[in-house]
């Protein structure tokens, strides 16, 4: 039944609404949100299975045929990302009670949380450019609510920056959609694609494509539009950082991936070549930022940026291998960024500081967190058995096949530096003499924080170790993306 495509949006939306009625009764709220998050994950997994075996599920909302109404397209790419989103969401919902104070929880944290999931799932599933904007706003509004929750002075300062930059890019998004609408006369993505292909993407359309890229690049933090990201992501509560780091920039990357594999594919020399250069700069500048600071939360936040560079690199090279590398890296990065933000949250809680210079010898009291962090660093840097490796390998293969030597160099150097920045946390934080600051009395809560992290980390490890199982479906997604006609035909039913 085609209504299945709407369920990943409706279920969290309903949960968010219902939880707002009894937001003061924290115990009930926790149970309800944990149960709904798990149910949601199961439902999405079922839909994933149906899409995987039976092809895309397309829902024409309100029973209006394709170009006229809003359509929701649960195709193999979007439903995979929704599934990953929900896995991260389940880990976050179990992690949240351990790190949030009760007053933060009672001030609608879970409502905002579920609205964020609604926005992210909606942005992945929608097949309509204006509806994509609306879901962007849904997730951004929820993120504004989450970033100021707790109302510290730093949070207030960073949230102002965050809101301003996002408001600006949203305004530009609407302007760009209106340009595109005035040229092609539709906002349905399949029909836009059809019309752009018909006129071979002449002049003005490439300009619009670059404007759209500018919008999504601001959301995804691509060089030179990443400057707003690190600090706002490192100041809120760890669980909020984990949600942001795992989901928000990835929606931008997904939008670039969707728009530049479906709609603007006729004039690759103008757009996609630019992506390769920007990807290289994003990797280098992101990782330089990660090495420049001693704040562990900020190091992880800076590490989002080179990851975005890697994904953009695959889109820029635009071959089947590199696109599958991008998809693999996208899924891997959503999971591992969730893990890392939760881990540094737990570490900073245990040490009582997030300054690396004041830490030391944490491994004596927190061996589990220490080894989790070690594995997560290896996963992030792309050491062979783990998932980061497969994604990077595919990307590098794609780049070498197209003889893009420059980007290969940048990718390898930045991988090395990512490893350096991560291992620095491990060496200075976990090794060495015990410092006074390490607070063993916080052991119990820190132990409770560990198991949602372990769950998510094991999925991440599985993604790498079980690459043989996942690779065929990733490859089929790339195949699907390289043939935009399949999407257009399935939506417009021609």
């Amino acid at each position: 039944m085609s209504n299945l495509a709407a369920l990943p949006i409706i279920l969290p939306l309903l949960a968010g609404i219902v939880l707002a009625f009894f937001h003061k009764r924290i115990k009930l709220v926790r149970i309800v949100s944990q149960v709904t998050a798990v149910i949601n994950l199961i439902v999405v997994a079922v839909i994933f299975w149906k899409v995987h075996t039976g092809g895309s599920i397309i829902l024409e909302t309100g029973d209006w045929t394709a170009p006229y109404g809003i359509i929701l397209v649960a195709d193999i790419l979007s439903i995979t990302l929704v599934l990953t989103t929900n896995i991260v969401a389940v880990a976050c919902v179990f992690y949240a009670p351990r790190t949030l104070s009760e007053s933060q929880e009672s001030f609608y944290f879970y409502s905002f949380f579920f609205l964020l999931i609604t926005g992210v799932s909606g942005a992945f599933i929608t097949g309509d450019l204006f509806n994509l904007f609306v879901f962007f706003e849904v997730l951004l509004m929820a993120s504004y609510g989450l970033i100021v929750l707790g109302n510290g002075k730093v949070q207030l300062r960073e949230s102002i920056k965050y809101v301003l930059i996002n408001l600006f890019s949203s305004m530009l998004f609407v302007t760009t959609i209106s340009f595109l609408y005035s040229v092609v006369g539709t906002v349905n993505m399949a029909q836009i694609a059809q019309r752009v292909h018909e006129v071979d993407q002449k002049g003005i359309l490439t300009t619009i494509a670059l404007l759209l890229f500018f919008v999504f690049a601001t959301k995804a933090a691509v060089f030179p539009l990443y400057y707003w990201l690190p600090r706002p992501y490192s100041v809120p509560n760890p669980v909020v950082s984990a949600l942001f780091g795992a989901l928000l920039t990835k929606v931008g990357v997904y939008s670039i991936l969707r728009v530049f594999t479906l709609i603007f594919v006729k004039d690759i020399s103008a757009t996609h070549t630019l992506f390769i250069y920007l990807a290289a700069l994003t990797m280098i500048f992101g990782v330089v930022g990660a090495l420049s600071t001693n704040n562990i939360k900020l190091i992880i936040a800076y590490n989002i940026i080179p990851a975005v560079g890697f994904m953009l690199m695959g889109i820029g090279i635009f071959t089947k291998v590199s696109i599958s590398g991008t998809i693999y890296y996208l899924i891997h990065d959503m999971v591992i960024k969730g893990v890392l933000f939760m881990l540094v949250g737990a570490i900073a809680y245990a040490a009582g500081t997030s300054d690396l210079r004041k830490m030391g010898g944490l491994i004596h009291h927190y061996p589990v967190q220490g080894w989790f962090f070690f594995i997560a660093s290896l996963v992030l840097a792309g050491i062979p058995p783990f998932s980061g490796f497969i994604g990077k390998l595919l990307l590098l293969q794609g780049a070498l096949a197209e003889e893009q030597i420059m980007i290969v160099g940048a990718a390898l150097v930045s991988s090395l530096l990512i490893l350096l920045s991560m291992i620095r946390i491990f060496i200075q934080g976990f090794w060495g003499e015990e410092k006074e600051l390490a607070k063993p009395e916080r052991k119990k809560t820190a132990a409770k924080m560990a198991w949602p992290i372990g769950l998510l980390l094991s999925i991440s490890v599985l993604l790498g170790v079980g690459a043989e199982w996942f690779y065929p479906s990733v490859e089929s997604i790339a195949d699907y993306l390289m043939n935009p006609q399949i999407y257009i035909d399935s939506v417009l039913k021609e």
Binding site: L13, I17, F21
Partner: protein
């Protein structure tokens, strides 16, 4: 500062507020065939309530309207999403709406659409949001 006697404001407010209420409900119902709808209707209703708050003050109004506007937001959203989910029961795509003609006692033959229920959700949400924003900001001054 001594309290001024604002009898003219209060008397006219009782009158104008009711006209505003009436007009906002007209706007809300007219939305299908004429300019109007849930959003502007909700704004107009909250304008009437805000006017009453301005004339009579915080405490008096809480006796007259002992409701928490905060709960209007989820309630309205629930109604709006509910009409969307309602189509699941009839095996129709999400957000499908339907309509029918009914003979109502005073109005005669009337077209009733389920889109009105969706609009009702919007209406209640807009009242909830507007009043929550205004009253939470006003609340700070009240405490001083």
């Amino acid at each position: 500062m001594a309290r001024t006697n604002d009898i003219i404001l209060r008397t006219t407010t009782t009158l104008i507020a009711f006209i505003l209420f009436g007009f906002s409900i007209y706007l809300f119902l007219a939305g299908h065939n004429a300019p109007g709808g849930g959003f502007i209707g909700g704004l107009m209703t909250s304008a009437a309530i805000v006017l009453m708050y301005m004339a009579y003050g915080f405490r008096a109004m809480q006796k007259v309207l002992p409701v928490s506007f905060r709960y209007f937001v989820p309630a309205g959203l629930l109604i709006a999403v509910g009409t969307g989910i309602g189509s699941f029961v009839f095996d129709q795509p999400f957000l499908s709406h339907t309509y029918g003609y009914f003979h109502l006692p005073v109005l005669g033959k009337t077209e009733l659409a389920t889109a009105l229920l969706f609009d009702l959700g919007v209406y209640i949400t807009v009242i909830g949001v507007t009043m929550t924003i205004i009253l939470t900001i006003a609340d700070d001054i009240d405490e001083e």
